[in-house]
Symmetry: C2
Subunit: 498 residues, 2 copies
């Protein structure tokens, strides 16, 4: 390999390390930083981002990249890394610096305004900011470029290669299947009693229990740790330092248990990277959707399955005898899978979650393309909630003002949550084809079989392939809804007798 | 103020922020990082140091600095900041990059070899590395420049403006006073029984107690926190995020209590910086000696005083009733001030600590100037220990191999520990002149009077003045031994009846 490629990698290693340092500063801010540190921390993070961005978009990076491309990558990995860098470099350099700076400035103010507007349930206060953000997103999409729809340019930032043309039929099918299905479940609400989960669960005991659960699932505490955060997240500073956070609610056990398992799924992805890709531009997950597929797979397909709890439930019962002593395995399993109409996305169950996402996806496109005005948006939100879920938000706080995403200027992000859910089932099915006794293994305490399969087929590749390529390699086909719909209908049909 | 000064400050703000980010990475590594993270963390820290160094020593920084100096600083602060930057810039640019890189490489290997040599009690293994390090330090000193002695150039790195010519008479006097004084105390060892301190002290209870103690002394947990670390330290990421760490030994109460108070003293210095110097090159402490004066003042002059415990001791007793219930205030006060011959510096009491430092100071100069050979050094160490303390180390592990400093190439650092002790008494005396009832206030739980005086006279200036200027402003005179010797003789004379 010529020296241009080596010089490029040395340069990109600095960019990578600045990003990792920024991630440590973020982790600290969310887990341990005293309140007084906030102003200086913002300044420190701004310096790291600025230096990293300048280093990456510099002409020298472009020159080395072009030279390395001309030389041709020596190995398949080298070639893959050059493709990744080219994609990132083009995206980063297509955006004019002035636009990036304006967006940073506007969204930082808009986020404050959104928080105040949500607090006061005052959509009118947020509306002019949403208008400005939509304008910025349109200019961003134009600068990035797209073949078909404006929205595709934004989608591509989070889910490389994904387009509306691919999502529309998928979400269309989910919409038409899940509306009647969820209504049928709602009608049989009496079948499931979730009240045992809101009893008393000592927080220290929850913490110790989730740590044991993570260890039991194969999360390696020599290469990670679990801390407490208001909004649980996973972060990594290398494949050997991948940390998760969780939250604790004394009167709602699933808060910690399933946040821990969800973030563990994200962590497994980062921990499973091939050693030789560590620290390179091909490290990290292939897309947000693929990342979410791993978290949902462990949270839902494993963590909320009957197999997982069959032999583990007595341990949980003896950890919380006063709250679960009188609850059978069956009762617990049903409780953690209770389905109900929800106004708030982050509180939604597996079935209705996707309906929340479809609402946002449809509205984002209409707003971006000017088919829906900012003024009419709240009404459109409420009407769509009625159509999708059969409920109407009593206020905007529980309606259009509930999510932070638009205020920070990230449109095109929401769909990745549901793409992740759809993918989780498709990937689990592929694993099941190769390991037919997977449920039994999970029941017997063997999570390693599934994890090893995921490492081999998904994790180790990092960003080396485009998400579509990873999915094809792992499952033998492109993104499909069938496994996901089959999973939801079979599991929840059985629980609710539908 | 001309734009060169502003451009310079913008540039130096990035340098500052890279340093602060590096400090967060260090803090995390010592407090929370899982073992797997170590390799990537070294790489991340190397990137931050490299980029910060490159940015600082660049020709552009030099050009802006020269232009800003030519324009002249508008305010007194501007002028002070330009002086600080000029000092730092000249120091940083005088060292050839090749020398810096060689030292980094050699000391990183030397530290490993030192650790192995210490473990095996094998001085011969470390000797060739010490030889190389002395050579590097000589070249470093030559590159940095000095008026009188080679050692002055190194001293100046940690204690700007300090020279052997100033230290020699100070350490000479301490030597001739403290050898007979400590021997007189050793002879009356029976006067003090320290055994109550090695009873059982639950670690969780120690933690809660030290947190309360810190709060009681005025350490603001909204602007800091206390964590556990193997080697206690204080670090800051801004004046509003100054963190300390402490250690806990279930069978030695002073470990945590006095480490917490020591680090609190360091923290107060950083927290007391004037707001307008925050984030500028004039932030941080004026020197290591001045920093140490603050930690020793709070640890020893306050924390090990009878006044401090008079009304607080019953609280400590009721926190550890089984271990301290039968110990009087007087007994406790004597126990925390027990003096004894020690082989290990970090375990030494207030009186003998300085003898350990004098030994190192004298040997460092002789080694650097070639008056003592590396081969003869262990014997010289042992002979000097016998002369200073009346004991001879039974092995090199407890002798010449005990400290990490030489292996990491920092000569000229040790003296600052004792300069700090000397200064702590001089500064406390100055405060006492202005607040004559200070001991009574401390007894009554008012630490704020002392702290406010220190903020006003020492802390707020940061690095704006040279250490000698700060001392002169705060105490009305240059560094003096009299207050320190008076303090030691009066306090320990009373305890031991000497």
């Amino acid at each position: 390999m010529g020296s241009a490629y080596e010089a490029l990698n040395t340069r990109l290693r600095d960019v990578h390390n600045l990003g990792m340092a920024g991630a440590v500063l973020d982790w600290d801010q969310q887990c341990y930083m005293p309140p007084g540190g906030v102003a200086a921390r913002a300044d420190q993070k701004a310096t790291l981002s600025k230096l990293s961005h300048e280093l990456f978009i510099s002409d020298e990076t472009g020159r080395l990249l072009a030279q390395a491309e001309a030389d041709g990558g020596e190995t398949e990995d080298d070639q893959a890394i050059l493709r990744v860098v080219r994609r990132d470099y083009d995206k980063a350099t297509r955006l004019p610096t002035a636009l990036v700076e304006e967006k940073t400035r506007v969204t930082s103010l808009a986020q404050e305004e959104w928080a105040a507007a949500r607090q006061a349930d005052d959509y009118g206060r947020f509306a002019p900011w949403l208008e400005r953000i939509l304008d910025l997103c349109r200019r961003e999409a134009e600068a990035l470029g797209y073949a078909d729809r404006l929205y595709d340019a934004l989608l591509d930032l989070y889910e490389p290669g994904m387009t509306c043309a691919q999502i529309d039929p998928i979400f269309g099918e989910l919409r038409s299947e899940l509306i009647p299905f969820s209504q049928a479940l709602f009608a049989r609400a009496d079948c499931v009693d979730g009240s045992c989960l809101t009893r008393d669960y000592e927080i220290d005991v929850q913490n110790a229990y989730t740590v044991d659960l993570l260890k039991n699932c194969g999360y390696d505490f020599r290469r990670g740790r679990q801390d407490k955060a208001v909004h649980p997240f996973c972060t990594h500073f290398s494949k050997n330092d991948v940390r998760i956070t969780t939250r604790f609610d004394k009167n709602y056990l699933p808060s910690s248990v399933f946040a821990s398992m969800h973030e563990m799924g994200h962590a497994f992805y980062e921990m499973g990277l091939a050693d030789h890709l560590e620290g390179t531009p091909a490290s990290g997950g292939a897309s947000l959707g693929l990342h979410e597929s791993q978290s949902r797979l462990w949270e839902n397909m494993v963590g909320r399955s009957i197999e997982f709890w069959k032999k583990r439930y007595t341990g949980l019962q003896s950890t919380f005898p006063a709250s679960l002593g009188d609850i059978s395995l069956e009762g617990f399993y049903k409780a953690i899978n209770r389905v109900a109409p929800t106004l708030i996305r982050v509180e939604a169950d597996e079935v209705t979650y996707t309906l929340h996402i479809i609402l946002r996806y449809e509205m984002e496109i209409e707003l971006l393309e000017g088919k829906l005005s900012v003024a009419d948006a709240p009404e459109a939100w409420n009407a769509r909630m009625q159509e999708l879920m059969g409920v109407t938000p009593p206020n905007h706080r529980e309606g259009i003002l509930q999510d932070v995403h638009w205020s920070i200027g990230i449109l095109g992000y929401f769909p990745t949550y549901s793409l992740g859910s759809v993918l989780s089932a498709q990937i689990y099915d592929a694993a099941l084809r190769e390991i037919p006794d997977l449920p039994q293994r999970i029941e017997d305490g063997d999570c390693a079989s599934l994890l090893n399969w995921l490492v081999e087929n998904v994790h180790r590749h990092g960003r080396k392939y485009l998400p579509g390529e990873v999915i094809e390699r792992a499952t033998g086909s492109q993104l499909q809804t069938a496994p996901y719909l089959r999973y939801l209908k079979s599991k929840f049909g059985a629980i609710y007798g539908v």
